[in-house]
């Protein structure tokens, strides 16, 4: 048992560095961590006193998980294969911004709420924090997540490069409903505009029911203030809804009786469909799962017991079941769901597999509390078309070669 866990850790470490090297060749920019100053490692740590306490903790220098910047400089993906459980450390949370990360002085920050309200109001950060607060664990996912697994599939894709645009945090803030009661929403209001204080002045229209349901103005992430990349000092948070609508660095909310039809909800973040239409306001992220171990670029050194592990999530509520197939989809068996299983949150699943050797394909399939079953790639492509642009939540496949090498996709 001890041996197995050591070999697995070594395996993960080498996997992480392989991904790093891979990233370097892909984007041609320095992803390599700044040369870490390795402490002197004593031959026996019980024979010398260790370091004193410090003001700010740091990761072990032996652990170097890294985001990978992708695309043309507006996103980075989280190293989901290097994480345990369901929480994403804030400094590894994926990024997606449209005009860079702004620097906002919290002393000068304000949120304006106006439009169809009785009392247009301005709230500074202290005022926002004085309202009764809530903290909730939720995933946040960019609706473009999974694009490389939908068309132009390559075998040398890691979980990070496929699905690294999702992260889970504990978000703290004031329920939007509390603020909406404070300003007095007028009868007939049905939508609101959320606007960011970044250079994109990002805007999205949101149905007002989401505010009465579970939307937050969040200022806390995993116990500390939001990271700048996640919207410091305050952002809109819409549990289960596509990342872009969760407007970061939020400065203004305008309440109205119709959507505003901004560029980000028409030209972008709309879904062209096979039937010659395009879907507007497709906010909810449907159920999805991905095996994060074993996955490219890992090579299993020997046959025998391996724990298949991954994450599943649904924007419609709780994950009720995750099934794993170790034979390319002929037989499916229930994976164990690690508690806590929370609504609109990553859920860790595990499945103990005794690899008999030989090539095979590993699949995972999530089911959520609405009875939605994660569809196959073929099913989704038939329903939406090969050219559709977002919401790629089909089943992901990992091919295990007889030599233990794992690659992405059904073939190969």
């Amino acid at each position: 048992m001890a041996d197995a866990s050591i070999s697995r850790r070594t395996l993960l470490a080498s996997a992480a560095s392989a991904v790093g090297a891979h990233a370097l060749s892909r984007v041609g920019r320095a992803q390599v961590p700044a040369q870490a100053t390795h402490p002197v490692v004593p031959p026996d740590p019980t024979k010398v006193p260790g370091s004193p306490p410090s003001q700010l903790g740091q990761r072990s220098v032996f652990e170097q998980p890294r985001r990978i910047p992708i695309g043309n400089g507006h996103s980075s993906v989280a190293p989901i294969q290097d994480l345990y459980g369901i929480v994403t450390p804030a400094d590894l949370h994926f990024e997606r911004h449209h005009a860079g990360v702004p620097v906002i002085d919290p002393q000068r920050y304000k949120l304006l709420i106006h439009g169809m309200v009785e009392r247009p109001q301005v709230f500074d950060l202290d005022a926002l924090k004085r309202f009764p607060a809530v903290s909730r664990m939720h995933f946040l996912e960019c609706s473009g997540n999974g694009t490389p697994s939908y068309r132009g599939i390559r075998p040398n894709l890691s979980p990070q490069l496929i699905d690294g645009l999702t992260s889970t945090s504990e978000w703290s803030g004031v329920p939007l409903a509390v603020l909406f009661r404070e300003v007095g929403v007028k009868p007939g209001a049905t939508w609101f505009l959320a606007e960011g204080d970044d250079a994109a002045v990002m805007t999205r229209s949101i149905p007002i029911d989401k505010a009465w349901d579970d939307a937050l103005i969040a200022y806390g992430q995993n116990g500390e203030a939001l990271r700048p990349e996640q919207g410091y000092p305050a952002r809109l948070f819409l549990p289960g809804w596509e990342g872009n609508a969760n407007v970061k660095w939020i400065r203004r909310i305008e309440i109205a009786d119709r959507p505003f039809m901004t560029r980000e909800e028409t030209s972008k973040y709309s879904d062209p469909l096979a039937d010659g239409t395009a879907r507007l306001f497709s906010f909810v992220m449907d159920a999805k799962s991905i095996i994060t171990f074993p996955a490219y670029p890992v090579t299993l050194p020997d046959r025998g017991w391996w724990e298949i592990s991954g994450i599943a999530w649904s924007g419609r509520g709780r994950i009720t079941r995750v099934e794993v197939s170790t034979d390319g989809g002929k037989r499916w068996e229930a994976a164990e769901l690690q508690q806590p299983v929370l609504p609109k949150c990553h859920t860790r699943f595990r499945y103990l597999w005794n690899w008999p050797g030989g090539a095979t394909t590993l699949l995972s399939r999530a089911v959520d509390e609405t009875g939605y079953v994660q569809p196959t790639l073929e099913h989704l492509q038939t329903a939406r078309g090969l050219g559709t642009a977002y919401h790629f939540n089909h089943i992901r496949a990992w091919r295990v070669q007889s030599d233990g090498a794992v690659t992405f996709g059904l073939e190969g």
Binding site: Q121, F123, F131, P175, R258, L273, A278, L386
Partner: protein, 192 residues
């Protein structure tokens, strides 16, 4: 009497009172806390820049295709190409394919202002708030109107003599206007 009460309750529910109970956090919360301050007209006018399909929010001013062409060459062409088709950033011009709306089926077609955008007013709103990318928020209303006129003309949506202003822009009907449909995904066993 009963009917009146029922109507009143409905009106309150529509106004959001009595809703959001999930968010009330504490039983016994007051109707209002009184935190924050009243917004002034200056607070609102400094930030209220959005433009909606009916033209709400469009400022006074106007622009023509030749005026827009000149501004485009100076401030936009470096990133979007001399004719709006060359890139390197988003392609802004293109009507292909002339028939149908095959973007869902066929990933080869590039979505542009001309073949995909449902509302012309969005062009004013977006260029005004976010472009040019390296100097956002730097254009005057007349410049934005001119650029909108130029881009609509390049996409063969308006004539080269068109003047774009707060009155004419909301009347422009975009080629893709009727292609957009609401989200029909509902959870449950169906895949849409």
């Amino acid at each position: 009497m009963r009917g009146t009460v029922a109507r009143l309750v409905l009106a309150l529910v529509a106004a959001g009172c009595g809703r959001g109970d999930r968010a009330a956090v504490h039983t016994g919360s007051p109707a209002r806390f009184g935190f924050g301050r009243a917004a002034t007209t200056a607070d609102v006018s400094a930030w209220d820049i959005d433009v909606t399909p009916d033209g709400t929010g469009l400022p006074p001013g106007k622009g023509t295709v030749p005026q827009g062409a000149a501004i485009y060459a100076r401030k936009c062409a470096a990133c979007h190409g001399p004719t709006g088709t060359e890139g390197p950033s988003d392609r802004l011009v293109g009507r292909e394919p002339r028939e149908g709306f095959p973007f869902g089926r066929d990933p080869r077609f590039v979505r542009t202002v001309g073949n995909y955008w449902p509302y012309a007013t969005t062009l004013y709103d977006y260029v005004n708030r976010a472009m040019p990318f390296d100097k956002p928020g730097s254009l005057t209303p007349d410049e934005v109107y001119g650029l909108v006129a130029f881009l609509l003309w390049r996409n063969e949506i308006v004539a080269d003599t068109t003047v774009i202003n707060a009155h004419t822009l909301p009347q422009v009907v975009m080629p893709a206007h009727d292609r957009f449909v609401p989200d029909n995904r509902r959870g449950g066993p169906e895949i849409h």
